[in-house]
């Protein structure tokens, strides 16, 4: 249960070393953890309207089945009598039931997969609110069990198809959204009811009509032809349990409804009622391109109400720090030991942020650790550096330095730079994490306890004396994980490093001793990414178990669980004000979570592939996300709108970063290029009038070519990470690929 402690002594030492961080504010947070988590489930399985009678009957039949299977024949009789169910109805059910039973007998694998699902939910009950509501998968699936005549499915579907193709253009685009979810549900229904031949015929006939961005899903779908397979497939279970969300204008919806009622096409209507959620809006129907830009995710678009919550995207007020006014750097270094001695003017940056941003959260909305002296020194250094910052723009592009990992035969999987660009960390597939010093300053360990005892603690250079000069080296290797390291993140104060791995743990490493301090267990499945809060102390992780978790470094259990993604959480990022967390997922959505209450406050759809990179703009207003389809999407967090699409990359985008002032967005990809985009222009050109804000229907200008400021090739090195130094020099990192 407890955290992994490879070196318990070190852990203790560490705790003693930083008591002031640990004590403040945590109790406040951990108090409301549980409630926040549980209330966060955005998915409700209860149908909105539907046919309650049908549903009841269906449940009854499921119960009957259950009783029968357990040989409780008397109860079966009683129930049947009371419910007034005919023998024939139940009989048709029985065949289904036996089919399922046979499947259980045959496919041992299906069972094991199934049990895995339930194990997951048992092991992490908080993380699986959806599954918790449906303990028995067969009950979930039984929704499919009593539908109409299999051979007629093609007729139903093509009937609807003919109708949609015949309506006016403006409605056709909207109603065409129905094709994909209907197609999938009907296919699954056929498969579930053991109509394998019909299912295959149905698939062959209509799969070609679907939008190309659903290809990956269709590929999975077409391999699935047996009921037993269905039970083990989590993606499709998700498809079943979550309701596919469509935005359709009232006019189009009326048209559809009228048609279905006229034709008595109950089959289609039932599916719409049960498995789809149609978000009806008043106003102009959307155009095809508008629809296409927003669709593509596993569960359709986001319900509008989800994105209505207020998001405090503003930045927190900078703490006031007395900056010694000295122009010469060497003088500053003299002052480092006692920064407060010299009372002088306040720095301009500090005074600028004095005015409270109306969009900013309250300063103490999330308890943040107090600044240590060393943090204040670092802030001062930061301010000094930023005065020397190069102002970037379309006419003034950054220089790029490429850090190439050579001989990384074991596979480079993750990279991170410290904010001051002094350290570089790489995660590798051979379970190691390596840290390099990027400055001439070598990496040194703290001396051993015995040696530390003999040091005079009062001396001025005690911080220098505690370091063991013998251990100085350019790089250090951290061993501890037992699987590939998929994410690394430095703490802002450069004292810690986080790494997340396939072994299901996140580890916290000390960069003083270069040992592991804590192993955070909880995900139980591969942890794909982790990221430190910009203020330290908190961090977020996301993994294969489809949830993201918020942790504090001194708690071995998560403080918050962000559950709602329908597939793996592939990347996680903290908002600059530390009040929100953004996650990208294989379900092709980006979600924004409130750290305070673990609520999902934004669901951003539009990506057509798994999302592998996220970046907040420095002002906190915008979010950029990159996916396997090679597109970068830009989002306005306040309005929850997509405001830009940057096309150009030809492979997965693994790295995104805004320049320090936010004028330029850099993207790095597997296609061995770094591209620079004019983010200012992209943000400025957005029409953010009230109408678009309320409807969420935006006309995206197709201006990727205009926004692209530069494209830079590496020789044969995929770009894994990007980082802007404090002076706006762009650092890129990746492993040379010799093939």
């Amino acid at each position: 249960m407890a955290a992994v402690q490879d070196g318990p002594m070190e852990l203790d030492a560490e705790k003693e070393a930083k008591p002031e961080i640990l004590s403040d504010g945590t109790s406040n947070l951990s108090g409301n953890t549980a409630s926040g988590t549980l209330s966060s489930s955005p998915l409700t399985a209860a149908p909105a309207g539907g046919a309650p009678k049908m549903e009841d009957q269906q449940t009854l039949i499921a119960v009957l089945q259950f009783l029968k299977r357990n040989k409780l024949s008397e109860s079966v009789e009683i129930l049947r009598r009371e419910a007034g169910l005919g023998e024939h109805q139940e009989g048709s059910q029985a065949t289904d039931g036996s089919g399922g039973g046979k499947g259980d007998g045959d496919g041992g694998d299906a069972n094991s997969l199934l049990s895995r699902v339930s194990i997951t939910s048992a092991a992490a009950p908080q993380s699986m609110p959806v599954k918790k509501d449906q303990p028995d998968v067969s009950v979930v699936l039984s929704a499919y069990s009593q539908q109409g005549d299999p051979p007629l499915y093609q007729v139903y579907y093509s009937g609807l198809k003919n109708f949609i193709e015949s309506v006016l253009d403006c409605h056709r685009a909207e109603l065409s959204q129905l094709f994909y979810p209907l197609f999938v549900h009907m296919y699954l229904e056929l498969v579930y009811n053991n109509h394998e031949t019909e299912a295959k015929a149905f698939f062959d006939k209509f799969s070609g009509d679907q939008e190309c961005y659903y290809q990956d899903d269709l590929h999975i779908l077409c391999g699935l032809t047996k009921k037993e397979h269905l039970k083990g497939n989590e993606v499709l279970l998700d498809f079943r349990t979550s309701r596919f969300v469509l935005h359709i204008s009232r006019d189009s919806y009326q048209l559809l409804k009228r048609h279905l009622q006229e034709r008595h096409n109950n089959q289609i209507w039932n599916i719409i009622q049960e498995h789809l959620y149609i978000d009806i809006f008043d106003g102009m129907p959307r155009s095809k391109s508008q629809i296409d830009s927003m669709s593509g995710s596993l569960a359709g678009e986001a319900k509008r109400e989800v994105n209505k919550a207020k998001v405090f995207y503003g930045l927190l007020k900078e703490p006031e720090i007395e900056v010694p006014l000295d122009d010469e750097d060497d003088e500053a270094e003299n002052e480092e030991g006692k920064p407060k001695k010299k009372k002088t003017k306040k720095d301009s940056l500090g005074s600028k942020s004095k005015k409270q941003d109306p969009n900013a959260p309250q300063q103490n909305r999330i308890p943040l650790p107090e600044l240590k002296d060393s943090d204040k020194l670092d802030k001062i250094m930061y301010m000094k550096e930023s005065t020397k910052r190069i102002r970037l723009g379309p006419e003034n592009l950054p220089s790029i330095c490429f850090y190439t990992f050579l001989n990384a035969f074991q596979g480079l999987t993750a990279v991170d730079f410290t904010d001051d660009s002094s350290l570089l960390a790489g995660g590798f597939a051979d379970s190691t994490v390596r840290v390099w010093s990027v400055t001439p300053k070598k990496l040194r360990k703290v001396k051993s306890a015995g040696e530390l005892n003999v040091i005079e603690k009062e001396s001025d250079d005690v911080l220098e004396r505690i370091m063991d000069e013998k251990t100085a080296s350019e790089s250090k290797i951290l061993h501890g994980h037992s699987g590939p390291v998929y994410g690394v993140s430095f703490s802002p104060d450069r004292n810690y490093l986080l790494s997340s791995s396939e072994d299901g743990t996140v580890r916290l490493w000390s960069l003083q001793t270069f040992t592991c301090l804590v192993g955070y267990k909880g995900h139980n499945y591969p942890v794909w990414d982790t990221h430190f809060s910009p203020f330290g102390y908190y961090f977020v992780s996301g993994g294969h178990d489809r949830v993201a978790r918020l942790w504090a470094t001194d708690h071995y259990q998560p403080l918050r669980i962000f559950a709602g993604h329908l597939a793996d959480v592939t990347c996680t990022r903290f908002h600059p004000n530390s009040n929100y967390v953004a996650t990208g997922s294989t379900d092709r959505t980006v979600r924004l979570w409130d750290v305070l209450n673990a609520n999902c406050v934004r669901i951003l759809t539009g990506h057509k592939g798994p999302i592998h990179s996220l970046a907040f703009s420095p002002n906190g207003k915008f979010l950029a996300s990159g996916s396997t389809d090679g597109r970068v999407l830009l989002w306005d967090i306040g309005h929850g709108l997509m405001i830009g699409e940057l096309k150009g990359h030809t492979d997965t985008i693994y790295a995104l970063k805004f320049s320090r002032d936010g004028e330029i967005l850099a993207s790095g990809s597997m296609d061995n290029t770094v591209r620079l985009w004019d983010s200012m222009k992209a943000f400025d050109e957005v029409e953010t009038d009230d109408f678009t804000a309320t409807t969420g229907h935006i006309h995206l200008p197709d201006n990727s070519q205009e926004l692209l400021l530069g494209m830079y090739h590496s020789k044969s090195t995929p770009v894994t990470h990007l980082h802007f130094t404090r002076r706006n020099l762009l650092l890129a990192a990746g492993a040379y690929n010799s093939q």
Binding site: L397, C401, L412, W436, P484, L709, A732
Partner: protein
């Protein structure tokens, strides 16, 4: 069932399929009899599970930021779905997928591996270069590539297509028939800056001398290849020097198959190889410590082995001669009394059956004569220089050597290195000789040496000094002819002050037509004196030249050559001989084991790893 088979066919278009026959076979192999229907169902399920595992594994690939799905990815997916993993397919290399001739069967070749051999293997690959990070400025202000990303130091540098093509063309041209093409190829090999990766391959080709010892022409071409490689200023030969030296030594010393036929002019080849040897040594000797002594030992061993044919002895003599007068003094001179008896016997046998051997003997005789002549001249010179040069009295050879080296032009720059290779070797000897236990060797005084040599050669030695006060025309042509040829016009004022002050004077002089590259020139120069001296032995009366009894003989020389080139200057003090290796002499054959194996880690790579990169960037 028929509908099912129809479905299977349709399915096959979408996915790879495990046929039910395979399922049945597998079941049979574990002793289970399956009905057709069960096999079909199982086959379909297996396919589905495989697809599922593949789909799940792709996420591991994506997160590892790779494009290529690996076996490890699939195993991870299997492990997470509680399925046994597949072992034994983790190798990085592609597995060859091969068809079986009989029947339509395809399989992955899976050779048996002898684990014992693998475990006890001593050649543990050191190829795993360390993971490192290197930084370079790719784009400055968003414009243009500043510098190319550079080559990657890998343990085994893979050859690019272009390099491979170059290698083939060059070797073909050099070993081919067309002399013009050969010339072009050699010239390129000498000046191309991008062929470092090919060096081991060329060295390997050159080590093929052992297999073409019957073909003088090929041997010649290979030696030329050595010369070009050695002269290429962009190549770092490193430990390959050893291999090159061993190939060259082979040509000098071995009784080549080609020398069986007296019509074959293998003498020229030996002369050329000897010059080449000294050149390699002079320009690259510092790369391998102890090389000089190893070479001397090899030469000495051949010389002192009476069983060896005379052509081998000849090779040893010219080799010593090429290495410099110090080498002659230390190896040839002490051996001369013992060797003389044998040689004399050969030369005195006038029987017809001995005619060929006798002719060979004359060759050796000539070579020795030339060598000792130079020895005497140089020794005399060094002594006079020492006596006159610095009053700061380091005694004997040391001063002489130093003085000599300082005054002598030493090495000429690479383009014409063969002209005076032996010059300056004294310094090396000096360094190596310090604390060298391999032979108790005490320098013999010049007059004593002259006396002894005179007792062997008589007037044929004397005539070389007496008949020609060092006027160029009078000097008999010898292998050092290029050297002496140079001084011709200046020789009117051959005093030492001049020499000291104007070593460069000779540099501007006419140089007799340079023939360093061609094997013909050493032939004409070295074989002729051999013949002529053997004749002159009988012609000149013995007592015509008075023996100098005391004091340094008043020989005077002009030092030919040119000012020391920059490159050579840099090398002057580089050679440091570690205490010489134990006396066990290595025959050149011993090098065979040290030949470069293609693909083995070589030294330069190591050097790179430790130093030549930096992460530091002025940010």
């Amino acid at each position: 069932s028929s509908s099912q088979s129809g479905m299977t066919e349709r399915e096959e278009r979408r996915f790879a399929e495990v046929p039910r026959e395979s399922i049945k076979l597998m079941a049979e192999s574990s002793g289970v009899e399956l009905s057709e229907e069960v096999a079909a169902l199982l086959a379909e399920d297996v396919c589905y599970r495989l697809r599922e595992a593949t789909q799940n594994s792709s996420q591991f690939m994506r997160h590892a930021k790779r494009r290529k799905l690996s076996v490890e990815d699939l195993n991870r997916a299997l492990r997470w779905s509680n399925t046994e993993t597949i072992c034994g397919y983790g190798a990085q290399d592609a597995l060859p997928f091969r068809p079986l001739k009989e029947g339509e069967l395809f399989f992955v070749e899976d050779r048996e591996i002898n684990l014992v051999e693998l475990a006890l293997a001593t050649n543990i690959p050191k190829g795993c270069a360390e993971t490192m990070v290197r930084v370079h400025v790719s784009y400055l202000d968003g414009k243009g590539n500043l510098e190319p990303q550079g080559t990657v130091p890998t343990a085994v540098q893979s050859l690019s297509e272009d390099l491979l093509k170059y290698y083939q063309q060059i070797t073909r041209a050099i070993l081919g028939e067309d002399p013009h093409l050969m010339k072009v190829a050699l010239l390129d090999l000498q000046s191309n800056s991008k062929i470092a990766a090919l060096l081991p391959y060329f060295v390997y080709v050159i080590s093929g001398v052992k297999s073409v010892s019957h073909d003088l022409d090929q041997l010649n071409r290979l030696l030329h290849m050595v010369k070009s490689l050695v002269q290429n200023p962009y190549l770092y030969l490193g430990s390959y020097v050893r291999s090159l030296v061993s190939s060259v030594m082979y040509c000098i010393l071995e009784p080549l198959a080609a020398s069986i036929n007296p019509l074959n002019d293998h003498w020229t080849l030996r002369d050329y190889a000897a010059l080449l040897l000294s050149h390699i040594f002079w320009t690259h000797g510092d790369l391998v410590s102890g090389l000089y002594h190893q070479i001397l030992l090899s030469l000495q061993k051949v010389l002192s082995d009476p069983v060896r044919p005379l052509c081998s002895h000849y090779g040893a003599v010219v080799g010593l001669h090429a290495l410099g007068w110090k080498a002659v003094e230390r190896v040839l001179y002490p051996h001369l009394p013992a060797y003389w008896a044998n040689l004399q016997a050969v030369l005195d046998d006038y029987s017809v059956s001995n005619a060929q051997v006798k002719a060979d003997g004359h060759k050796v005789y000539g070579a020795i004569l030339v060598a000792v002549e130079r020895l005497l001249k140089m020794k005399a010179l060094s002594l006079t220089l020492a006596a006159e040069g610095s009053g700061a009295g380091l005694p004997g050879t040391t001063t002489g050597a130093v003085g000599f080296r300082e005054n002598s032009p030493g090495l000429s720059p690479p383009p014409e290195p063969l002209s005076e290779p032996p010059l300056g070797i004294a310094s090396h000897l000096q360094a190596g000789g310090a604390g060298c236990p391999w032979e108790e060797w005490t320098p013999v005084s010049l007059p004593a040496m002259y006396c002894e040599l005179y007792s062997f050669f008589g007037d044929s030695l004397a005539v070389r000094f007496s008949t020609g006060p060092p006027l160029g025309g009078a000097t008999p042509p010898g292998p050092c002819q290029p050297l002496e040829g140079r001084k011709e016009p200046a020789s009117s004022a051959p005093n030492l002050e001049n020499t000291r002050k104007m070593p460069q004077l000779t540099a501007s002089m006419n140089i007799s037509p340079r023939r360093d590259g061609s094997p013909r020139s050493p032939l004409s120069s070295s074989s002729r004196p051999g013949r002529s001296t053997s004749q002159s032995r009988d012609i000149f009366p013995k007592a015509r030249f008075p023996l100098p009894q005391a004091g340094p003989p008043a020989f005077s020389f002009i030092i030919g050559g040119r000012q020391m080139g920059r490159r050579c200057q840099g090398r002057r003090f580089q050679t440091s001989f570690t205490p010489t290796p134990p006396l066990t002499t290595h025959p050149p054959r011993a090098y065979a084991h040290k030949l470069p194996v293609i693909g083995r880690v070589s030294k330069p790579v190591r050097r790179w790893t430790c130093s030549h990169y930096s992460l530091h960037l002025p940010l």
